[in-house]
Amino acid sequence: MRIRCPHCGERDLKEFTYGGDASVSRPDHASSDTKAFEAFIHHRTNPAGRHAELWHHTAGCRQWLVVVRDTVTHDIESVEMLGPWGEEAKPRRGWR
């Protein structure tokens, strides 16, 4: 599998580390809602098909990415960068 990192370009899977389901959100940090944290930590839908995932470009730019991928065909629909530079790295005119 190859992932097109918005920052580094297309790279081999070996450079990345899987970071889990991107569709779950962490409850507000100040929250003490145990149920909400349980869902965040343990509950996963594990779909056969379209799945938004977190990937870390560990051996590259070290940015965290959201990769929308089909778990059956492994086709990658989109890759977006997260974090403070995420906005700047969005594809724009002149960007390959």
Binding site: R2, G19, H29, F37, H56, T58, W64, L82, P84, G86
Partner: protein, 1006 residues
């Protein structure tokens, strides 16, 4: 013909060099062949008929094919450390000194005592293991496994380390062409002409595939000459890489394919500087699958008798290697193309006795061919039975209904020593199946063809069901040009080469199984479907009678197609027999899914150079060489090399660590702690981040102070510990354990990028940039005073947990007064380049103070004496409270894991809690021992906990340990037993508080 070697004549023996004999041995006996041929052909030409014994029944087996599909002629190749089992004689290029051994026979190939397994035939039928060893008889497996494993099996691998080198490489191309036969060469020619980067890979030593045994002409030259010329032309082009002896074995996502190049398998040992094999990871924009087709055998009684061979294989041995499969030959074929074998056999001077064809009538062309070959043409008939002592002597031929396979009458015998068989072709759809939908059944061709591509590939030639030569050349040219165009190369492409078709697969009937009349009896010849795994037609019928309907179940129950050849010659026939039994059509039964690898891949090729010392990158601290030069016994610790202890002459590690630990407490010791994870945290929200990460309070940590922090996982269990130093209002230095440095960093990056996007913090790993030395012992301050300048190290100037900037030899340094050992101690950091100078300077200056350098083991001793936790206690199950640090946890703030720490199970009674152990019998307490109440070692015994860390304590002068014990804190004073049945250890211990030494901490406060 001399022996079984065809006399020199045009078109026969084209690849052997008769002037260069090659000497080799088979089962220890000397043999001679010629350069350019395979082990299989050399043995065949020498008159060898028995090549091995079968997997289960130990039946004698001959040579069945001439390619990678070979199910029977498996050899153990080479001797000693290079010994390699289960190689296919058909794929081994002959070299001088080659030593081959047949397999699965004892004591010898001709006399095999294990052949008695044949008498147990009905017992060893489908599902034998399940039926015999499941349920109440399961224990019997324990008893019989040894014998069964010995009786059934293939070759044995060597136990010696592999002396050869393997390489891994990556390649990128526009068009990858798999297979260098007619279609592959045509495709490569077309794609290469556009300027596209082309890789052409073929598993054989030379390009050409079936063309090498072909009688036809292409562009006016012999097919094999055209193949050779085309391959040479391609190799000369700058944009083309031709890879012979390279098997593309797997098709993975995003058009990445795995291939193994056998660089030096065709010589006795790799020449200097040459790897044995090279693994290629090829990323291609487009792939052309020109993988050809394999010939399909026919199932009839005794069809595994040595002397029975696939028809195309027979042609290959005759035409390419000048080796005769036998002298009196018959052909049993279900389509037109196979008649070429009879024609060639007659042309080579063999006696072709009969051509048996189940089709009721055949064309005049075939009838004339039979007449020219001097063969009796027997249409509407089938071979019902093959027999022979050492090898084939007689076949029985009877009228057959070609649709059902039912035969009539007892038949008529033919005395032949060789039977060439062809039941049609099976396209090699393995890679297509790996990278696409399920293969699609074609009724006309009676074969599975590649399904819908899921990756960027297209099939050409026989792989796509185009068997005729012109069709191969035409589809190859078209698919090759299309692939280049799709990859962005729209140049002009050459016309397809011109050729005239010879006979090819035409008017085929799919004869699944010849059913003989009358009772066969269980000692009679068996009808084999899978020759390598000894699966018979009756095994499949039995599975059907027992209710198996799904092909994937059938495969696993009968083990059909599960041997090293993955059923290359047996799958389709097996499926068809199953379909018949179920009264269904083949496509309705479906086919099993192909998975990589196409042919077995050596682990060495996958590992490449990442073996031994190169298994993982080695990380060394700036002081590494000093450690090694001064007796340091180096140990892999996480990703780093660290000194375990510094051994003086005559010392064991135990002697060394006891001396080192004692000396630290007496005077002063230094340890290399450069490997601790160090993360520089800066930004307006640096303090907020640190406060969220640690479970204890950090909000009020003043500048110039360090604090010990506990990090939890999101689920509330312990994750990591370390100290965190506040260097400025918005600037922290976080230290982590050596092992978790990378993970803690990645986890914080994730939280900041994904969930806490409002925090403005920047993280940098500075583990490698700073060298660190821990200075511990009553004289530590005295030592440091003569090392560091521009810093006040007094209790007022640098109090306990104080962090100060300092200067070492004109360079910036950081010093923090921290203690892991329980002594007055400091950690000093300087730039990595100055680490060695700092270390050496300390050793020099420390001489009058009796300074000692101490390693990991002494570091452990000192922390165990103090009851400090480390990796063995933070094992992913323990909580802060379990290890006695529950009081540290802040109840006033939210932190990672805060919501989960009070979950029921984490606070329930009966949890394992940290305790100390003191040996009552003055014996070591082995780490990993379980704690039990019984004074004697006996099973079963309830485990009350386990020993996590052990040391001999010089301070207490006895053996002590840390342990996790059920309700441990309420059991201080109890006597328990540390048991380790595997080693026979069982010793009495007293449970104590985990802090063994200096309980009030007065020593570290100085």
């Amino acid at each position: 013909m001399k022996g079984f070697r065809i006399s020199p004549r045009d078109g026969y023996g084209t690849e052997i060099d008769r002037s260069t004999p090659v000497n080799f041995t088979f089962d220890g006996k000397p043999f001679q062949g010629f350069r350019g041929e395979t082990l299989a052909s050399a043995l065949l030409a020498s008159g060898v008929r028995r090549f091995g014994r079968s997997f289960k029944y130990h039946r004698p087996r001959g040579l069945f094919s001439a390619g990678p599909e070979e199910p029977s002629a498996l050899m153990t190749l080479r001797l000693g450390a290079r010994r390699e089992p289960n190689t296919k004689a058909t794929m081994i290029e002959l070299f001088d000194g080659l030593a081959a051994q047949s397999q699965n026979r004892w004591p010898s190939l001709d006399l095999d005592l294990m052949a008695i397994n044949q008498l147990g035939g009905p017992l060893l039928s489908a599902g034998f293991y399940y039926k015999t060893f499941m349920g109440p008889t399961q224990k019997a497996w324990m008893v019989y496994e040894h014998f069964i494993r010995r009786a059934a099996g293939l070759g044995k691998a060597t136990h010696l380390p592999d002396p050869d080198r393997y390489e891994r490489t990556h390649a990128y191309c526009d068009v990858l062409i798999v297979g260098g036969g007619a279609a592959g060469l045509a495709a490569a020619r077309a794609a290469a002409a556009t300027g596209a980067r082309v890789i052409l890979a073929d598993e054989n030593a030379r390009m050409g595939g079936a063309l090498l045994a072909e009688a036809a002409t292409i562009n006016g030259m012999a097919a094999r000459t055209w193949a050779e010329t085309t391959a040479t032309d391609l190799d000369d082009m700058a944009n083309v890489t031709v890879l012979p002896r390279t098997t593309v074995y797997g098709y993975y996502d995003d058009n990445q394919l795995g291939a193994v190049e056998r660089v030096a398998d065709h010589v006795a040992a790799p020449p200097d500087g040459t790897p044995r094999q090279r693994h290629w990871t090829i990323t291609a924009k487009r792939v052309v699958l020109a993988t050809g087709a394999l010939e399909r055998p026919i199932v009839f009684a005794g069809n595994d008798t040595p002397g029975i061979m696939l028809a195309d294989a027979g042609r290959t041995y005759l035409r390419r290697f000048g080796a005769a499969p036998g002298r009196r030959v018959a052909l049993f074929a279900t389509h037109d193309g196979a008649y070429r074998a009879a024609r060639d056999a007659a042309e080579a001077g063999l006696e072709v006795t009969a051509i048996i064809d189940p089709r009721p009538t055949v064309s005049d062309t075939l009838a004339n061919l039979a007449m020219d070959a001097g063969a009796e043409l027997v249409t509407g008939h089938a071979v019902t039975r093959a027999e022979g002592g050492k090898s084939l002597e007689k076949i029985t031929v009877a009228p057959v209904d070609s649709l059902s396979g039912t035969t009539f009458g007892t038949g008529h015998p033919y005395h032949v020593d060789t039977l060439l068989v062809s039941g049609g072709h099976t396209p090699v759809v393995h890679l297509a199946s790996q990278a696409g939908g399920a293969p699609v059944w074609d009724d006309d061709l009676t074969a599975f063809l590649p399904g819908t591509p899921r990756e960027a590939w297209a099939a050409a030639g026989a792989c796509a069901g185009h068997y005729a030569l012109t069709a191969c050349l035409n589809t190859g040219t078209r698919v090759g040009a299309d692939a280049a165009a799709d990859a962005g190369f729209a140049g002009t492409t050459p016309e397809a080469p011109s050729a005239r078709d010879d006979l090819s697969l035409d008017e085929v009937v799919f004869l699944r199984e010849v059913k003989a009349v009358g009772k066969k009896g269980w000692l009679g010849p068996k009808s084999f479907v899978d020759l390598q795994h000894d699966v018979t037609a009756s095994d499949i019928h039995l599975a059907h009678r027992e209710g198996f309907v799904a092909v994937e179940h059938l495969k696993r129950y009968t083990t059909l197609g599960m041997a090293a050849d993955q059923g290359k010659t047996s799958n389709v026939t097996g499926l068809a027999i199953m379909a018949d039994a179920l009264g269904k059509d083949v496509p309705d039964v479906g086919t099993t899914r192909f998975r990589p690898p196409y042919t077995p891949v050596a682990i060495g090729a996958l590992a490449g150079r990442n073996v031994g010392g190169h298994f993982a990158p080695v990380r060394r601290t700036p002081m590494h060489d000093w450690h090694v030069a001064n007796g340091g016994l180096m140990l892999v610790n996480g990703p780093w090399m660290r000194p375990h202890g510094y051994l003086r002459e005559g010392e064991t590690l135990t002697d060394a660590y006891i001396r080192e630990a004692r000396q630290v407490r007496q005077s002063v010791g230094i340890a290399d702690v450069s490997t601790l994870g160090k993360i520089d945290i800066q930004g307006p929200h640096a303090g907020e981040l640190v406060n969220r990460m640690y479970s204890n309070g950090f909000a009020k940590l003043p500048i110039g102070k360090a604090r010990y922090g506990l990090m939890l996982r999101e689920d509330g269990t312990l994750y990591d510990d370390g100290t965190c130093w506040r260097l400025g209002e918005h600037h922290f230095l976080m230290t982590t354990t050596t092992a978790n440095a990378g993970l803690v960093m990645a986890n914080m990056e994730k939280l900041l990028s994904v969930y806490w996007t409002d925090l403005r913090v920047s993280l940098s790993s500075i583990t490698d940039q700073w060298a660190g030395v821990s200075v511990a012992g009553p004289n530590s301050r005295t030592l440091l005073k003569s090392i560091l300048t521009d810093v006040d190290l007094s209790d007022e100037g640098c109090p306990f947990m104080g962090v100060r900037r300092a200067c070492f030899d004109g360079h910036d340094a950081l010093v923090a007064r921290l203690s892991f050992s329980g002594e007055m101690a400091y950690e000093v950091y300087v730039g990595a380049h100055h680490g060695l100078a700092l270390w050496e300077h300390m050793v020099d200056v420390g001489k009058p103070l009796d300074l000692v350098t101490y390693g990991l083991e002494a570091l452990g001793t000192l922390r165990i004496e103090k009851g400090h936790i480390a990796g063995p206690e933070i094992d992913g199950r323990s909580t802060a409270d379990d290890v006695g640090l529950g009081k540290m946890i802040s109840r006033k703030k939210a932190f990672v894991g805060s919501t989960m720490i009070d979950r029921e199970a984490l606070i329930a009674p009966g949890r394992l809690q940290l305790v100390g152990l003191i040996a009552k019998d003055f014996q070591p307490i082995r780490s990993g021992s379980h704690l039990v109440a019984n004074s004697e070692m006996k099973e079963p015994a309830e485990s009350l906990g386990h020993v996590t860390s052990y040391t001999y304590s010089p301070a207490l002068e006895t053996h002590i340990a840390l342990a996790m014990l059920k309700d441990g804190r309420s059991r201080h004073g109890e006597t328990l037993y540390a048991t380790y049945p595997l080693r026979g250890d069982h010793g009495a211990v007293t449970v104590t508080d985990p802090v063994f030494f200096d309980k009030d901490g007065s020593r570290m406060h100085g």
